[in-house]
Amino acid sequence: MSVTTAVEPVIPDYGQASECVVNNGAFCVDWFVQQWPTVFWPALVEHIGLTLIAIVIGFVLAFLAALVAHRFSVAAAPLNGIAAVLYTIPPLALFILLVPFTGLSVLTAEIALVAYTLLILFSNTLTGLNNIPADARRAAVGMGLTRSQILKRIELPLAVPAIIGGLRIASVLTVSTATIAAFIVDAGLGSPILKAIQSPFNTQFIAAGALAVLLAFAVDGLLVLLGRGLAPWALRRRNA
Protein backbone atom coordinates (compact mmCIF):
# COMPACT_ATOMS: atom_id res chain seq x y z
CA MET A 1 0.00 0.00 0.00
CA SER A 2 1.61 3.18 -1.05
CA VAL A 3 1.11 6.53 0.56
CA THR A 4 1.53 8.57 -2.53
CA THR A 5 -2.10 9.45 -3.03
CA ALA A 6 -2.77 12.72 -1.28
CA VAL A 7 -6.01 12.23 0.58
CA GLU A 8 -6.43 15.40 2.65
CA PRO A 9 -4.00 17.18 4.88
CA VAL A 10 -5.38 15.06 7.69
CA ILE A 11 -2.61 12.47 7.85
CA PRO A 12 0.06 13.45 10.27
CA ASP A 13 3.43 12.87 8.74
CA TYR A 14 4.42 9.98 10.95
CA GLY A 15 6.36 7.59 8.76
CA GLN A 16 4.62 4.70 7.10
CA ALA A 17 0.87 4.86 7.27
CA SER A 18 -1.57 1.98 7.34
CA GLU A 19 -4.86 1.87 5.48
CA CYS A 20 -6.68 2.93 8.63
CA VAL A 21 -4.49 5.98 8.97
CA VAL A 22 -4.85 6.85 5.31
CA ASN A 23 -8.64 6.73 5.55
CA ASN A 24 -8.65 8.52 8.90
CA GLY A 25 -10.53 5.67 10.55
CA ALA A 26 -12.18 6.07 13.90
CA PHE A 27 -9.36 4.49 15.85
CA CYS A 28 -6.16 3.11 14.36
CA VAL A 29 -4.63 0.76 16.88
CA ASP A 30 -1.37 0.37 15.02
CA TRP A 31 -0.83 4.10 14.92
CA PHE A 32 -1.75 4.48 18.56
CA VAL A 33 0.73 1.78 19.57
CA GLN A 34 3.37 3.40 17.44
CA GLN A 35 2.77 6.83 18.94
CA TRP A 36 2.41 5.63 22.52
CA PRO A 37 6.02 6.05 23.66
CA THR A 38 6.58 9.44 22.04
CA VAL A 39 3.19 11.15 22.24
CA PHE A 40 0.67 9.57 24.57
CA TRP A 41 2.78 8.23 27.40
CA PRO A 42 4.59 11.55 27.98
CA ALA A 43 1.30 13.43 27.70
CA LEU A 44 -0.31 11.07 30.20
CA VAL A 45 2.54 11.50 32.67
CA GLU A 46 2.39 15.28 32.31
CA HIS A 47 -1.35 15.15 32.79
CA ILE A 48 -1.02 13.13 35.99
CA GLY A 49 1.56 15.64 37.20
CA LEU A 50 -0.68 18.65 36.46
CA THR A 51 -3.60 17.01 38.23
CA LEU A 52 -1.71 15.76 41.25
CA ILE A 53 -0.04 19.10 42.02
CA ALA A 54 -3.37 20.91 41.67
CA ILE A 55 -5.19 18.48 43.93
CA VAL A 56 -2.52 18.48 46.63
CA ILE A 57 -2.22 22.28 46.79
CA GLY A 58 -5.97 22.72 46.43
CA PHE A 59 -6.62 20.25 49.22
CA VAL A 60 -4.19 21.91 51.62
CA LEU A 61 -5.70 25.35 50.99
CA ALA A 62 -9.29 24.16 51.12
CA PHE A 63 -8.68 22.06 54.22
CA LEU A 64 -7.14 24.95 56.14
CA ALA A 65 -9.93 27.25 55.01
CA ALA A 66 -12.52 24.69 56.12
CA LEU A 67 -10.89 24.44 59.56
CA VAL A 68 -11.08 28.22 59.87
CA ALA A 69 -14.70 28.24 58.73
CA HIS A 70 -15.50 25.41 61.11
CA ARG A 71 -14.03 27.28 64.05
CA PHE A 72 -15.34 30.71 63.08
CA SER A 73 -18.63 30.17 61.34
CA VAL A 74 -18.83 33.79 60.18
CA ALA A 75 -15.92 33.04 57.83
CA ALA A 76 -17.78 30.25 56.07
CA ALA A 77 -19.96 32.36 53.78
CA PRO A 78 -17.22 34.68 52.45
CA LEU A 79 -14.76 31.80 51.93
CA ASN A 80 -17.43 29.83 50.13
CA GLY A 81 -18.31 32.88 48.04
CA ILE A 82 -14.73 33.35 46.86
CA ALA A 83 -14.41 29.67 45.98
CA ALA A 84 -17.76 29.75 44.19
CA VAL A 85 -16.79 32.71 42.00
CA LEU A 86 -13.49 31.06 41.06
CA TYR A 87 -15.37 27.89 40.27
CA THR A 88 -17.90 29.64 38.04
CA ILE A 89 -15.41 31.45 35.78
CA PRO A 90 -14.98 29.38 32.62
CA PRO A 91 -11.61 27.60 32.69
CA LEU A 92 -10.44 28.93 29.35
CA ALA A 93 -11.21 32.48 30.51
CA LEU A 94 -9.38 31.99 33.81
CA PHE A 95 -6.31 30.52 32.09
CA ILE A 96 -6.25 33.48 29.68
CA LEU A 97 -6.82 36.10 32.38
CA LEU A 98 -3.82 34.81 34.32
CA VAL A 99 -1.48 34.94 31.34
CA PRO A 100 -0.66 38.68 31.66
CA PHE A 101 0.47 38.00 35.23
CA THR A 102 2.20 34.64 35.16
CA GLY A 103 2.76 34.11 31.43
CA LEU A 104 2.23 31.04 29.29
CA SER A 105 3.55 28.76 32.00
CA VAL A 106 2.78 25.68 34.04
CA LEU A 107 2.39 28.05 36.99
CA THR A 108 -0.55 29.71 35.24
CA ALA A 109 -2.09 26.34 34.54
CA GLU A 110 -1.66 25.22 38.15
CA ILE A 111 -3.11 28.40 39.63
CA ALA A 112 -6.24 27.98 37.55
CA LEU A 113 -6.53 24.24 38.23
CA VAL A 114 -6.11 24.81 41.97
CA ALA A 115 -8.77 27.52 41.82
CA TYR A 116 -11.24 25.00 40.41
CA THR A 117 -10.68 22.42 43.13
CA LEU A 118 -11.29 24.85 46.00
CA LEU A 119 -15.09 25.05 46.07
CA ILE A 120 -15.71 21.32 46.13
CA LEU A 121 -12.93 20.50 48.55
CA PHE A 122 -13.82 23.37 50.86
CA SER A 123 -17.54 22.76 50.99
CA ASN A 124 -17.23 18.99 51.33
CA THR A 125 -14.66 19.25 54.11
CA LEU A 126 -16.74 21.82 55.98
CA THR A 127 -19.91 19.79 55.56
CA GLY A 128 -18.01 16.77 56.84
CA LEU A 129 -16.68 18.59 59.88
CA ASN A 130 -20.14 19.91 60.72
CA ASN A 131 -21.55 16.49 60.15
CA ILE A 132 -21.22 15.18 63.69
CA PRO A 133 -24.66 14.06 64.89
CA ALA A 134 -26.08 16.46 67.48
CA ASP A 135 -26.31 13.74 70.13
CA ALA A 136 -22.70 12.67 69.57
CA ARG A 137 -21.54 16.26 69.94
CA ARG A 138 -23.52 16.68 73.14
CA ALA A 139 -22.14 13.44 74.52
CA ALA A 140 -18.58 14.45 73.56
CA VAL A 141 -18.84 17.81 75.32
CA GLY A 142 -20.63 16.25 78.27
CA MET A 143 -17.91 13.62 78.65
CA GLY A 144 -15.34 16.35 79.05
CA LEU A 145 -13.58 16.33 75.71
CA THR A 146 -11.84 19.60 74.88
CA ARG A 147 -12.50 21.41 71.63
CA SER A 148 -9.29 20.11 70.04
CA GLN A 149 -9.97 16.57 71.24
CA ILE A 150 -13.42 16.71 69.68
CA LEU A 151 -11.90 17.94 66.41
CA LYS A 152 -9.16 15.32 66.34
CA ARG A 153 -10.99 12.29 67.68
CA ILE A 154 -14.56 12.85 66.54
CA GLU A 155 -15.05 15.52 63.90
CA LEU A 156 -12.11 14.79 61.60
CA PRO A 157 -12.63 11.01 61.48
CA LEU A 158 -16.32 11.55 60.86
CA ALA A 159 -15.49 13.97 58.05
CA VAL A 160 -13.34 11.46 56.17
CA PRO A 161 -16.09 10.10 53.91
CA ALA A 162 -17.19 13.61 52.91
CA ILE A 163 -13.58 14.68 52.34
CA ILE A 164 -12.91 11.63 50.18
CA GLY A 165 -16.15 12.38 48.31
CA GLY A 166 -14.87 15.89 47.64
CA LEU A 167 -11.48 14.62 46.52
CA ARG A 168 -13.14 12.23 44.10
CA ILE A 169 -15.18 14.94 42.41
CA ALA A 170 -12.32 17.43 42.44
CA SER A 171 -9.86 14.94 40.93
CA VAL A 172 -12.18 13.88 38.17
CA LEU A 173 -12.95 17.52 37.36
CA THR A 174 -9.28 18.44 37.41
CA VAL A 175 -8.33 15.61 35.06
CA SER A 176 -11.00 16.93 32.70
CA THR A 177 -10.15 20.62 33.09
CA ALA A 178 -6.42 20.01 32.75
CA THR A 179 -7.00 19.20 29.07
CA ILE A 180 -7.94 22.85 28.59
CA ALA A 181 -4.57 23.90 30.02
CA ALA A 182 -3.14 22.87 26.65
CA PHE A 183 -4.30 26.23 25.30
CA ILE A 184 -1.56 27.91 27.33
CA VAL A 185 1.09 25.22 27.92
CA ASP A 186 2.11 22.39 25.64
CA ALA A 187 1.54 19.72 28.26
CA GLY A 188 -0.90 17.02 29.19
CA LEU A 189 -3.49 15.12 27.19
CA GLY A 190 -5.08 18.32 25.88
CA SER A 191 -2.00 18.92 23.81
CA PRO A 192 -2.44 16.04 21.34
CA ILE A 193 -6.13 16.93 21.13
CA LEU A 194 -5.42 20.52 20.15
CA LYS A 195 -2.80 19.39 17.68
CA ALA A 196 -5.21 16.89 16.19
CA ILE A 197 -7.80 19.61 15.70
CA GLN A 198 -5.43 21.51 13.43
CA SER A 199 -5.67 18.54 11.08
CA PRO A 200 -8.64 16.51 12.23
CA PHE A 201 -7.15 13.08 12.76
CA ASN A 202 -9.60 10.93 14.68
CA THR A 203 -7.27 8.48 16.37
CA GLN A 204 -5.27 11.21 18.01
CA PHE A 205 -8.10 12.98 19.84
CA ILE A 206 -10.07 9.86 20.52
CA ALA A 207 -6.98 8.29 22.07
CA ALA A 208 -6.15 11.37 24.12
CA GLY A 209 -9.77 11.88 25.16
CA ALA A 210 -10.16 8.24 26.12
CA LEU A 211 -6.95 8.34 28.14
CA ALA A 212 -8.26 11.37 30.04
CA VAL A 213 -11.52 9.58 30.81
CA LEU A 214 -9.70 6.42 31.87
CA LEU A 215 -7.35 8.44 34.04
CA ALA A 216 -10.34 10.08 35.70
CA PHE A 217 -11.90 6.70 36.46
CA ALA A 218 -8.61 5.30 37.73
CA VAL A 219 -8.11 8.22 40.12
CA ASP A 220 -11.72 7.92 41.24
CA GLY A 221 -11.28 4.20 41.91
CA LEU A 222 -8.09 4.75 43.89
CA LEU A 223 -9.81 7.33 46.05
CA VAL A 224 -12.73 4.98 46.69
CA LEU A 225 -10.24 2.39 47.95
CA LEU A 226 -8.49 5.01 50.07
CA GLY A 227 -11.83 5.97 51.58
CA ARG A 228 -12.61 2.38 52.47
CA GLY A 229 -9.25 2.07 54.15
CA LEU A 230 -9.62 5.28 56.13
CA ALA A 231 -13.27 4.95 57.13
CA PRO A 232 -14.20 1.28 57.36
CA TRP A 233 -17.13 2.18 59.58
CA ALA A 234 -18.84 4.11 56.80
CA LEU A 235 -18.83 1.08 54.52
CA ARG A 236 -20.18 -1.26 57.17
CA ARG A 237 -22.75 1.34 58.03
CA ARG A 238 -23.92 1.46 54.43
CA ASN A 239 -24.24 -2.30 54.20
CA ALA A 240 -26.01 -2.61 57.49
Partner: protein
Amino acid sequence: MTAIDLEQSSSIVFDAATKVYAGQPRPAVDNLSLTIEAGQLCCIVGPSGGGKTTTLLLVNRLVELTSGDIRIGEQSIHDIDPIALRRSIGYVIQQTGLFPHLTIAENIALIPQILNWDKARIRKRTNELLELVGLAPVETFAKRYPHELSGGQQQRVGIARALAANPPVMLMDEPFGALDPITRANIQDEFLSLKDEIGKTTIFITHDIDEAIKMGDKMAILQDGGVLAQYGTPEAILSHPANEFVERFVGEDRGLKLLTLRTLQRALEQATNRPVLMRRSEIQASNLPRIPETATMQAALSLALNSQSTAVIVTSENGLDAVELSVQRLVELGSTTTAPPKTSRARADA
Protein backbone atom coordinates in the same frame (compact mmCIF):
# COMPACT_ATOMS: atom_id res chain seq x y z
CA MET B 1 -6.39 17.48 87.27
CA THR B 2 -9.09 15.39 88.70
CA ALA B 3 -10.73 17.46 91.31
CA ILE B 4 -13.30 14.91 92.31
CA ASP B 5 -12.16 11.64 93.73
CA LEU B 6 -12.98 9.02 91.12
CA GLU B 7 -14.19 5.64 92.33
CA GLN B 8 -15.76 7.26 95.36
CA SER B 9 -19.43 8.04 95.53
CA SER B 10 -20.30 11.62 96.41
CA SER B 11 -23.46 13.45 97.35
CA ILE B 12 -24.90 16.12 95.06
CA VAL B 13 -26.27 19.24 96.72
CA PHE B 14 -28.32 21.87 94.92
CA ASP B 15 -28.18 25.07 96.92
CA ALA B 16 -30.70 27.67 95.71
CA ALA B 17 -29.63 26.80 92.18
CA THR B 18 -31.21 29.18 89.68
CA LYS B 19 -30.92 29.46 85.92
CA VAL B 20 -32.39 32.26 83.86
CA TYR B 21 -31.67 31.99 80.14
CA ALA B 22 -30.79 35.24 78.42
CA GLY B 23 -33.86 36.84 76.94
CA GLN B 24 -36.27 34.70 78.94
CA PRO B 25 -38.57 36.43 81.38
CA ARG B 26 -38.94 33.42 83.69
CA PRO B 27 -36.26 31.22 85.17
CA ALA B 28 -35.83 27.72 83.73
CA VAL B 29 -34.77 26.46 87.15
CA ASP B 30 -35.95 28.45 90.11
CA ASN B 31 -34.20 28.47 93.45
CA LEU B 32 -33.77 24.71 93.56
CA SER B 33 -32.48 23.23 96.78
CA LEU B 34 -32.19 19.53 97.37
CA THR B 35 -29.64 16.99 98.53
CA ILE B 36 -29.04 13.68 96.81
CA GLU B 37 -27.19 11.41 99.16
CA ALA B 38 -24.14 9.49 98.02
CA GLY B 39 -25.06 6.33 96.15
CA GLN B 40 -28.71 7.24 95.72
CA LEU B 41 -30.66 7.54 92.51
CA CYS B 42 -32.83 10.60 92.26
CA CYS B 43 -35.41 10.82 89.51
CA ILE B 44 -36.21 14.31 88.36
CA VAL B 45 -39.64 14.16 86.84
CA GLY B 46 -42.06 16.72 85.54
CA PRO B 47 -43.88 17.99 82.47
CA SER B 48 -41.88 19.18 79.47
CA GLY B 49 -40.74 22.73 79.95
CA GLY B 50 -40.34 22.10 83.65
CA GLY B 51 -36.57 22.59 83.54
CA LYS B 52 -35.61 18.94 84.03
CA THR B 53 -32.86 18.85 81.45
CA THR B 54 -31.59 22.28 82.44
CA THR B 55 -31.25 21.05 86.01
CA LEU B 56 -29.14 18.16 84.77
CA LEU B 57 -26.97 20.29 82.51
CA LEU B 58 -26.24 22.67 85.36
CA VAL B 59 -24.43 19.86 87.13
CA ASN B 60 -21.87 19.19 84.40
CA ARG B 61 -21.76 22.87 83.50
CA LEU B 62 -23.04 22.45 79.97
CA VAL B 63 -25.30 25.21 81.24
CA GLU B 64 -23.91 27.69 83.75
CA LEU B 65 -25.77 28.69 86.89
CA THR B 66 -27.21 32.20 87.10
CA SER B 67 -27.10 32.12 90.88
CA GLY B 68 -26.84 29.65 93.73
CA ASP B 69 -24.47 26.72 93.90
CA ILE B 70 -24.18 23.03 93.23
CA ARG B 71 -21.77 20.91 95.25
CA ILE B 72 -20.48 17.46 94.48
CA GLY B 73 -19.18 15.98 97.70
CA GLU B 74 -17.70 18.96 99.47
CA GLN B 75 -16.75 20.82 96.36
CA SER B 76 -18.56 23.55 94.50
CA ILE B 77 -18.68 22.87 90.77
CA HIS B 78 -17.45 26.44 90.26
CA ASP B 79 -14.12 25.48 91.76
CA ILE B 80 -13.54 22.69 89.26
CA ASP B 81 -12.37 23.13 85.68
CA PRO B 82 -15.40 22.22 83.50
CA ILE B 83 -13.42 19.66 81.49
CA ALA B 84 -12.14 17.90 84.62
CA LEU B 85 -15.61 18.12 86.14
CA ARG B 86 -17.24 16.45 83.12
CA ARG B 87 -14.66 13.68 83.05
CA SER B 88 -15.63 12.79 86.58
CA ILE B 89 -19.32 12.63 85.71
CA GLY B 90 -20.86 9.81 83.71
CA TYR B 91 -23.27 11.21 81.14
CA VAL B 92 -25.97 9.18 79.39
CA ILE B 93 -28.42 10.77 76.93
CA GLN B 94 -31.55 9.55 75.25
CA GLN B 95 -30.13 9.40 71.71
CA THR B 96 -27.11 7.48 73.10
CA GLY B 97 -24.59 9.86 71.50
CA LEU B 98 -22.38 6.95 70.53
CA PHE B 99 -19.69 7.93 68.03
CA PRO B 100 -20.53 6.20 64.75
CA HIS B 101 -16.92 5.88 63.57
CA LEU B 102 -15.71 4.12 66.71
CA THR B 103 -16.34 0.50 67.62
CA ILE B 104 -18.17 -0.32 70.82
CA ALA B 105 -14.87 -0.95 72.61
CA GLU B 106 -13.39 2.29 71.27
CA ASN B 107 -16.45 4.24 72.36
CA ILE B 108 -16.10 2.95 75.89
CA ALA B 109 -12.33 3.43 75.91
CA LEU B 110 -12.39 7.04 74.77
CA ILE B 111 -12.19 8.77 78.14
CA PRO B 112 -9.76 6.25 79.69
CA GLN B 113 -7.55 6.82 76.62
CA ILE B 114 -7.66 10.55 77.09
CA LEU B 115 -6.86 10.01 80.76
CA ASN B 116 -3.81 8.03 79.59
CA TRP B 117 -4.67 4.73 81.16
CA ASP B 118 -2.39 1.94 79.98
CA LYS B 119 -3.70 -0.40 77.29
CA ALA B 120 -4.11 -3.45 79.48
CA ARG B 121 -6.13 -1.52 82.04
CA ILE B 122 -8.38 -0.04 79.35
CA ARG B 123 -8.95 -3.47 77.88
CA LYS B 124 -9.77 -4.98 81.20
CA ARG B 125 -12.14 -2.17 82.08
CA THR B 126 -13.90 -2.33 78.69
CA ASN B 127 -14.51 -6.06 78.95
CA GLU B 128 -15.65 -5.75 82.54
CA LEU B 129 -18.15 -3.03 81.61
CA LEU B 130 -19.51 -4.85 78.57
CA GLU B 131 -20.18 -7.81 80.78
CA LEU B 132 -21.70 -5.64 83.47
CA VAL B 133 -24.26 -4.15 81.07
CA GLY B 134 -25.03 -7.56 79.65
CA LEU B 135 -23.36 -7.37 76.25
CA ALA B 136 -21.89 -10.83 76.09
CA PRO B 137 -20.02 -12.42 74.42
CA VAL B 138 -17.75 -9.47 74.97
CA GLU B 139 -15.41 -10.25 72.04
CA THR B 140 -18.29 -10.09 69.57
CA PHE B 141 -19.74 -6.82 70.77
CA ALA B 142 -16.42 -5.05 71.31
CA LYS B 143 -15.62 -5.01 67.59
CA ARG B 144 -19.03 -3.93 66.35
CA TYR B 145 -20.02 -0.43 65.33
CA PRO B 146 -22.92 1.31 67.06
CA HIS B 147 -25.29 1.09 64.08
CA GLU B 148 -24.90 -2.67 64.12
CA LEU B 149 -26.63 -2.82 67.52
CA SER B 150 -30.28 -2.54 68.48
CA GLY B 151 -31.53 0.53 70.32
CA GLY B 152 -31.47 -1.23 73.67
CA GLN B 153 -27.96 -2.55 73.10
CA GLN B 154 -26.78 0.89 72.06
CA GLN B 155 -28.08 2.36 75.29
CA ARG B 156 -26.30 -0.35 77.28
CA VAL B 157 -23.10 0.79 75.56
CA GLY B 158 -24.02 4.35 76.47
CA ILE B 159 -24.22 3.34 80.11
CA ALA B 160 -20.98 1.37 79.93
CA ARG B 161 -19.23 4.36 78.36
CA ALA B 162 -20.51 6.66 81.06
CA LEU B 163 -19.10 4.28 83.69
CA ALA B 164 -15.74 3.89 81.96
CA ALA B 165 -13.62 6.14 84.15
CA ASN B 166 -15.56 5.04 87.24
CA PRO B 167 -17.05 8.47 87.95
CA PRO B 168 -18.63 9.08 91.34
CA VAL B 169 -21.67 10.71 89.77
CA MET B 170 -23.92 9.80 86.86
CA LEU B 171 -26.27 12.05 84.92
CA MET B 172 -28.90 10.27 82.84
CA ASP B 173 -31.14 12.32 80.56
CA GLU B 174 -34.21 10.24 79.68
CA PRO B 175 -31.87 7.33 78.97
CA PHE B 176 -34.57 4.82 78.12
CA GLY B 177 -37.01 7.27 76.55
CA ALA B 178 -36.48 6.13 72.97
CA LEU B 179 -36.85 2.40 73.60
CA ASP B 180 -39.90 0.26 72.98
CA PRO B 181 -41.85 -0.71 76.13
CA ILE B 182 -40.52 -4.27 76.42
CA THR B 183 -36.86 -3.38 75.90
CA ARG B 184 -37.40 -0.49 78.21
CA ALA B 185 -38.78 -2.61 81.04
CA ASN B 186 -35.91 -5.08 80.66
CA ILE B 187 -33.20 -2.49 80.70
CA GLN B 188 -34.85 -0.75 83.67
CA ASP B 189 -34.81 -4.00 85.62
CA GLU B 190 -31.20 -4.66 84.75
CA PHE B 191 -30.15 -1.15 85.58
CA LEU B 192 -31.88 -1.44 88.95
CA SER B 193 -30.00 -4.61 89.80
CA LEU B 194 -26.77 -3.04 88.59
CA LYS B 195 -27.37 0.20 90.43
CA ASP B 196 -26.57 -1.05 93.90
CA GLU B 197 -23.50 -2.84 92.62
CA ILE B 198 -21.99 0.28 91.07
CA GLY B 199 -23.27 2.59 93.80
CA LYS B 200 -23.12 5.84 91.84
CA THR B 201 -24.98 8.94 92.89
CA THR B 202 -27.30 9.34 89.95
CA ILE B 203 -29.62 12.01 88.62
CA PHE B 204 -32.10 10.40 86.30
CA ILE B 205 -34.38 12.57 84.18
CA THR B 206 -37.68 11.19 82.97
CA HIS B 207 -41.08 12.49 82.00
CA ASP B 208 -42.62 9.15 82.83
CA ILE B 209 -43.97 9.01 86.37
CA ASP B 210 -44.06 5.21 86.35
CA GLU B 211 -40.40 5.04 85.41
CA ALA B 212 -39.58 7.51 88.18
CA ILE B 213 -41.50 5.45 90.75
CA LYS B 214 -39.76 2.29 89.60
CA MET B 215 -36.22 3.65 89.36
CA GLY B 216 -35.89 6.35 91.97
CA ASP B 217 -34.72 6.08 95.58
CA LYS B 218 -36.08 9.60 95.69
CA MET B 219 -38.17 11.62 93.29
CA ALA B 220 -38.01 15.35 92.67
CA ILE B 221 -41.09 16.66 90.93
CA LEU B 222 -40.55 19.89 89.04
CA GLN B 223 -43.46 21.96 87.91
CA ASP B 224 -43.63 24.76 85.33
CA GLY B 225 -40.89 27.32 85.66
CA GLY B 226 -38.41 24.91 87.24
CA VAL B 227 -40.00 25.10 90.67
CA LEU B 228 -39.55 22.09 92.92
CA ALA B 229 -43.02 20.84 93.76
CA GLN B 230 -42.01 17.96 95.99
CA TYR B 231 -38.95 15.91 96.87
CA GLY B 232 -39.12 12.59 98.66
CA THR B 233 -39.34 8.84 98.28
CA PRO B 234 -41.81 7.59 95.67
CA GLU B 235 -43.85 6.07 98.46
CA ALA B 236 -44.03 9.32 100.39
CA ILE B 237 -44.96 11.34 97.33
CA LEU B 238 -47.65 8.89 96.24
CA SER B 239 -49.21 8.66 99.65
CA HIS B 240 -48.94 12.35 100.53
CA PRO B 241 -48.77 14.58 97.47
CA ALA B 242 -47.62 18.04 98.54
CA ASN B 243 -50.04 19.99 96.40
CA GLU B 244 -52.66 19.75 93.71
CA PHE B 245 -50.05 19.80 90.95
CA VAL B 246 -48.27 16.75 92.33
CA GLU B 247 -51.56 15.02 92.92
CA ARG B 248 -52.56 15.54 89.30
CA PHE B 249 -49.10 14.67 88.03
CA VAL B 250 -48.81 11.35 89.85
CA GLY B 251 -52.28 10.48 88.58
CA GLU B 252 -55.61 9.43 90.03
CA ASP B 253 -54.37 5.87 90.21
CA ARG B 254 -51.71 6.80 92.74
CA GLY B 255 -53.28 4.32 95.13
CA LEU B 256 -52.63 1.55 92.64
CA LYS B 257 -49.14 2.83 91.90
CA LEU B 258 -48.39 2.76 95.57
CA LEU B 259 -49.27 -0.92 95.62
CA THR B 260 -46.48 -1.58 93.10
CA LEU B 261 -43.98 -0.27 95.62
CA ARG B 262 -44.87 -2.60 98.45
CA THR B 263 -44.37 -6.32 98.66
CA LEU B 264 -46.87 -8.54 100.43
CA GLN B 265 -44.17 -9.41 102.90
CA ARG B 266 -43.67 -5.81 103.92
CA ALA B 267 -47.37 -5.09 104.08
CA LEU B 268 -47.87 -8.07 106.35
CA GLU B 269 -44.98 -7.08 108.59
CA GLN B 270 -46.47 -3.63 109.04
CA ALA B 271 -50.02 -4.89 109.54
CA THR B 272 -51.45 -4.30 113.01
CA ASN B 273 -53.31 -7.59 113.33
CA ARG B 274 -51.60 -10.32 111.41
CA PRO B 275 -53.63 -13.06 109.77
CA VAL B 276 -53.26 -16.54 111.23
CA LEU B 277 -51.02 -19.05 109.47
CA MET B 278 -52.87 -21.73 107.58
CA ARG B 279 -52.57 -25.34 108.50
CA ARG B 280 -50.86 -27.69 106.05
CA SER B 281 -54.12 -29.51 105.37
CA GLU B 282 -55.92 -26.23 104.78
CA ILE B 283 -53.33 -25.16 102.24
CA GLN B 284 -53.62 -28.47 100.43
CA ALA B 285 -57.39 -28.40 100.43
CA SER B 286 -57.71 -24.86 99.12
CA ASN B 287 -57.93 -24.13 95.44
CA LEU B 288 -57.38 -20.37 95.83
CA PRO B 289 -54.66 -18.86 93.63
CA ARG B 290 -51.23 -18.69 95.26
CA ILE B 291 -48.68 -15.92 95.20
CA PRO B 292 -45.25 -15.64 96.89
CA GLU B 293 -44.84 -13.01 99.59
CA THR B 294 -42.07 -11.35 97.57
CA ALA B 295 -44.65 -10.25 94.98
CA THR B 296 -46.16 -6.79 95.15
CA MET B 297 -49.55 -5.93 96.58
CA GLN B 298 -50.56 -4.92 93.09
CA ALA B 299 -49.70 -8.37 91.76
CA ALA B 300 -51.82 -10.00 94.47
CA LEU B 301 -54.88 -7.87 93.66
CA SER B 302 -54.36 -8.43 89.99
CA LEU B 303 -54.21 -12.17 90.56
CA ALA B 304 -57.45 -12.11 92.47
CA LEU B 305 -59.12 -10.16 89.69
CA ASN B 306 -57.81 -12.41 86.96
CA SER B 307 -58.83 -15.62 88.67
CA GLN B 308 -62.16 -14.15 89.82
CA SER B 309 -61.57 -15.22 93.36
CA THR B 310 -62.30 -13.25 96.51
CA ALA B 311 -59.04 -14.25 98.16
CA VAL B 312 -55.46 -15.35 97.46
CA ILE B 313 -53.01 -17.53 99.36
CA VAL B 314 -49.69 -15.81 100.11
CA THR B 315 -46.84 -18.26 100.52
CA SER B 316 -43.59 -17.66 102.39
CA GLU B 317 -40.22 -17.85 100.71
CA ASN B 318 -39.50 -21.37 101.91
CA GLY B 319 -42.97 -22.38 100.73
CA LEU B 320 -43.88 -23.88 104.11
CA ASP B 321 -46.02 -21.15 105.58
CA ALA B 322 -49.03 -19.52 104.02
CA VAL B 323 -51.81 -17.10 104.89
CA GLU B 324 -55.10 -16.46 103.21
CA LEU B 325 -55.82 -12.85 102.30
CA SER B 326 -59.25 -11.79 101.10
CA VAL B 327 -59.57 -8.97 98.60
CA GLN B 328 -61.14 -6.93 101.36
CA ARG B 329 -58.06 -7.51 103.49
CA LEU B 330 -55.70 -6.63 100.63
CA VAL B 331 -57.48 -3.31 100.18
CA GLU B 332 -57.21 -2.60 103.89
CA LEU B 333 -53.49 -3.42 103.90
CA GLY B 334 -52.97 -1.21 100.88
CA SER B 335 -54.73 1.80 102.34
CA THR B 336 -53.72 1.63 106.00
CA THR B 337 -50.06 0.72 105.88
CA THR B 338 -48.87 3.82 104.08
CA ALA B 339 -45.60 5.09 105.37
CA PRO B 340 -45.62 8.14 107.63
CA PRO B 341 -45.19 11.38 105.66
CA LYS B 342 -41.51 12.30 105.36
CA THR B 343 -41.79 14.64 102.46
CA SER B 344 -40.32 18.09 102.18
CA ARG B 345 -42.99 20.47 101.05
CA ALA B 346 -42.18 22.93 98.31
CA ARG B 347 -42.25 26.62 98.94
CA ALA B 348 -45.76 27.87 98.60
CA ASP B 349 -45.41 29.64 95.28
CA ALA B 350 -46.98 26.94 93.17
